[in-house]
Symmetry: C2
Subunit: 440 residues, 2 copies
């Protein structure tokens, strides 16, 4: 059979990974797919640097449009990243009838609906296993492995940078700023880490998984996003004393009124497998009504793990490239006409439980004031921890940290309760609120 | 589009699960597959009992051959189990041009090659996600999700009964026999638990995964199989003191000389995720040269989890049922003509590390005797633990337990060293040997 002719846009870490995996495992891959995957052209601004990776035989161009317009290319692999140029290239490739494999979560989170519709009209595939959780086949697991289920929810550690930072903060007792500096030195965090530490990257990935889990449009613009920059080591320590670890989770749930779509630091029970995912590793837990809970774990980033997902998409494609579109898995796993328009819920409608840390005056009656406000908003208390004043502010501080774990409540009720508690004289600082999930 | 017409052989726990999942999630599944999956006929000896599950509308027969010969059925779902009748039914269904979905690991482990070849000749699909690890999509992960990789090895907790027993032995300090009785009472172990506790069920599943991971024939007959019946609580306790838990693992590795294929109790580092898979849960870790380590975790048995896998296979099938066979994923993920004939290695050729427990006389010179035998076989020691005589046999026993962890060595060398050590006067009982894996 004729080889599948591949054009690579971008020959950075992942692009080099794709090239090297195809070169090293070409025979093994052909044993599977029945045909070769052959990189015929790559683009990179620095042509000499690209040749250093792909050798002299492969055509290199500084102009990525040359690749997407090359009539001898069947599949374009987009590894440039970003929204602007990548979007033009992907749409041009689709217009030219080429299949697209991409690792670009930002592009698909923001412009996915437009790109998927263009691909549908041209009967080409857009595949993006590599866009979520690197080498872990989580797109395939959700889209095909769980296809018998009504998926209820999923939650994932889908950003390695923030998970590394949280692991280090916990195990070494260091502050966010200290660990961020280390992570940058080690290459786990970028020079501008905003997208990672503010939760934006996780929200990109989460909105793709949510669309596949529930058969809804990609709705990144409606996601609630909180990063880890404000997290205190004190909260990590208190959480641990209460039997929890704090992880930055992307969580999406389907309830009757709509879809929850949220990224925020989350207390997870210490014995839960997700709590034990440490360092830069990724993991996703998904719950289906038939299968129960399924967890997938692995490397969420890196050249070869990401290349593993890119090439797996190519092997899938190689099998159906000559088949008509009806024989292919739809891009979100649901038939395009069957996507539901379930709305994304406002955070005030979300039901979850909470960790609250309150710096309060160490005097009689404070606890009664606080607990009666909670009770008036129907918020019931699951556990409480009070730290002696001496522990937080010196022997004579007359302050104490009061930590409360609540049962499930609606976030709107919690907002109101917190506003009322913060207005009390006895409450000395803004209340720290971290959401808590059982994930069972 | 026309529905896919399904015939169910067997309406027990899993059969009822399949029927109920299709009934409950029929709309959600149709949103995905674009066509309905409709159970048109089921077989069960007790026809009334079957009607109680599937209602009055669905045709029920006591004769399973009526289903496989029914011209109005596209897909036969075999849930009868066993080797004999199930084999005849599956081959008859294939001969009739029907696709087959099965959860029957025993059948495929023993007769897989014959069945797969028959299916290839008739251009029908044989799908068996449900045969390994219940609802966890591990077949899909290995076959499609890791298709870019040269898979080096995989290891799994793939039998819930034995994992439940080992979890209970460790957490409650009970003996194998005591826990087995409990497991039977709770329904985690069958009245005749032989296939589970002797490791046969795990070996069935392992040989299927091995074939898919490496592109070799299913070679259950060459697997090395040890169960957990001889495991002592003392070994579980000593392992824990050394930082390990004991799990019944199915392990398959590809090395230059061939394939390792073995099921046995195994020491796993306590902090490894696999060590923390407790109770009846299943998990598989696979290592690919590009992706690194990937872990999949979930419920390995039960009506609805297994049905989840059965129905996922049907959804996959629905998409390609009208496509020619070249557009389908080959049954083992490799093109049939590309299967390799790598031999299964004899255990004497396997390289691994070991936990040894030796009951020895508490006298000078014993340790020197033992360690020099190990050294003469090039076996180096990683860690050692000596338990005072008082702890094992009362104050005046003059016996001691000596526990040794070794570095990697060839099993043939270990066999010889153990034979020589057991011949020593100072060694008072057969040496307990448990293999140990790092799984990194």
């Amino acid at each position: 059979m004729q080889p599948i002719r591949v054009g690579l846009l971008g020959v950075g870490t992942v692009g080099a990974g794709v090239f090297n995996v195809l070169a090293r495992n070409g025979d093994e891959i052909e044993r599977r797919s029945g045909r070769r995957l052959e990189v015929v052209q790559v683009s990179r601004r620095d042509v000499a640097a690209a040749h250093a990776v792909v050798g002299a035989q492969v055509s290199v161009t500084a102009d990525p449009f040359e690749v997407v317009n090359n009539p001898n290319i069947d599949v374009v692999v987009e590894l440039i990243g970003g929204y602007t140029l990548a979007k033009d290239l992907v749409l041009q490739a689709i217009a030219n009838g080429k299949h697209v494999v991409t690792a670009n979560k930002a592009l698909l989170a923001v412009h996915g609906s437009e790109i998927f519709e263009a691909a549908r009209q041209r009967s080409v595939v857009v595949a993006f296993e590599a866009a979520v959780a690197g080498g872990i086949p989580i797109i395939k697991t959700l889209r095909e492995g769980m296809s018998a289920n009504r998926v209820d929810w999923l939650a994932g550690i889908i950003n390695g940078t923030t998970n590394f930072i949280l692991s280090e903060m916990r195990s070494k007792g260091l502050s966010f700023a200290e660990v961020l500096k280390q992570a940058q030195a080690l290459g786990y965090a970028e020079a501008d880490p905003t997208f990672d530490i503010e939760g934006v990257d996780a929200a990109h990935k989460l909105s793709l998984m949510s669309a596949i889990a529930f058969g809804v449009q990609v709705q990144f613009d409606k996601a609630h996003i909180e990063g880890i920059t404000k997290l205190q080591t004190a909260d990590i320590r208190y959480a641990e004393q209460l039997g929890y670890r704090i992880k930055l989770l992307g969580i999406t749930k389907r309830v009757e009124a709509g879809v929850e779509l949220r990224v925020h630091p989350t207390l997870v029970p210490s014995e839960h497998l997700l709590a034990n995912v440490e360092g830069p590793m990724n993991a996703v837990v998904a719950h289906g009504d038939a299968v129960g809970t399924v967890l997938s774990y692995g490397q969420g980033a890196g050249g070869e793990p990401t290349a593993s997902a890119v090439v797996a998409d190519m092997v899938d494609l190689a099998r159906v490239i000559d088949a008509d579109a009806a024989h292919r898995v739809p891009v979100l796993g649901f038939q395009p006409a069957s996507l539901s328009d379930l709305p994304v819920l406002a955070m005030a409608q979300v039901v979850t439980s909470y960790y609250l840390r309150m710096r309060v005056k160490d005097q009689a009656g404070v606890l009664a004031q606080l607990t009666s406000i909670l009770a008036e908003h129907n918020i019931s208390i699951d556990a409480m921890l009070q730290r002696e004043a001496a522990a937080v502010g010196g022997e004579e501080s007359h302050q104490t940290d009061l930590i409360v774990l609540t049962h499930d409540t609606q976030e709107g009720q919690m907002d109101q309760a917190i506003a009322r508690m913060e207005a009390l004289d006895a409450v000395l600082a803004p209340i720290t609120r971290i959401r808590k999930e059982g994930l069972a």
